[in-house]
């Protein structure tokens, strides 16, 4: 199982702040593709993914037990 967090626009789009994906292994690109397919309008090209609270690249791998977060463009300050 892989846990994912949704924030800001993505939390409103998906209607949830987190969910579990029943997979043991995915790349970041596969996770983004999964999200785009499940939630049309996700906008995967502008979204970073964090694995266990660290920014990841698209070919990084995600394994069961990892906690991921979709990070839309940040706007703190």
């Amino acid at each position: 199982m892989i846990k994912v967090h949704y924030f800001a626009r993505l939390r409103e789009l998906t209607g949830k702040s987190e969910e579990f994906i029943d997979k043991d292994y995915m790349t970041v690109q596969q996770l983004l593709d999964w999200a785009e397919e499940k939630y049309p309008g996700f906008g995967k090209d502008m979204i970073h993914v964090a694995i266990n609270e660290e920014y990841a690249l698209k070919d990084d791998t995600i394994q069961t037990g990892d906690v991921c977060a979709f990070i839309p463009p940040v706007s703190g300050g």
């Binding site: 967090h5 970073h48 920014y55 463009p73 940040v74 706007s75 300050g77």
Partner: protein, 149 residues
């Protein structure tokens, strides 16, 4: 208080100023980012901030470490408030102390630029006639792990 933290209550400036002050500090700079009413002619009623709290605090601490490496001898505290913020409320505070003022000013400005690049905090502007999540649209990084290096 923690030196790098996300809070939900109003930010007490003095608490962070006191934290960075010490006997060798000849300068303390305090930056506050405040909620402004008018942005490009559009009137904001209030802002709603949201954060990925553990990662945001970790990234702010990393920014603090970057600053201490660039400007040895400084001491830093960074706090960001989330939730519903109204006009003139403090959203972010950066306190930097240094033996001399040049480093305190420079490091403080560096911190706000880095916060806007890498700290997972999001702002929603609520206007009289609508609302929108704000964020600079940046393309996905193709090399390197830091977003803007």
């Amino acid at each position: 208080m923690k030196p790098f933290e996300i809070v939900e209550e109003p930010i007490d400036i003095q608490k962070y100023a006191d934290y960075v002050l010490h006997a060798s500090a000849g300068a303390v700079t305090i930056f506050t980012g405040n909620v402004r009413e008018w942005t490009h002619g559009v009137r904001t009623l209030y802002l709603s901030y949201e954060a990925y709290v553990p990662m945001a605090e970790k990234k702010m601490a990393e920014i603090g470490a970057e600053m201490e490496e660039k400007w040895p001898g400084i001491k830093v505290a960074i706090v960001h408030r989330i939730g519903e913020l109204h006009i003139s409320d403090i959203a972010v505070l950066i306190a930097v102390s240094s033996p001399h003022r040049e480093a305190a000013y420079a490091a403080n400005e560096y911190a706000i630029e880095r916060i806007k690049e890498v700290v997972p905090i999001w702002k929603k502007e609520i206007w009289e006639d609508g609302e929108e999540w704000i964020g600079a649209q940046k393309k996905y990084p193709t090399k390197g792990r830091k977003l803007n290096d």
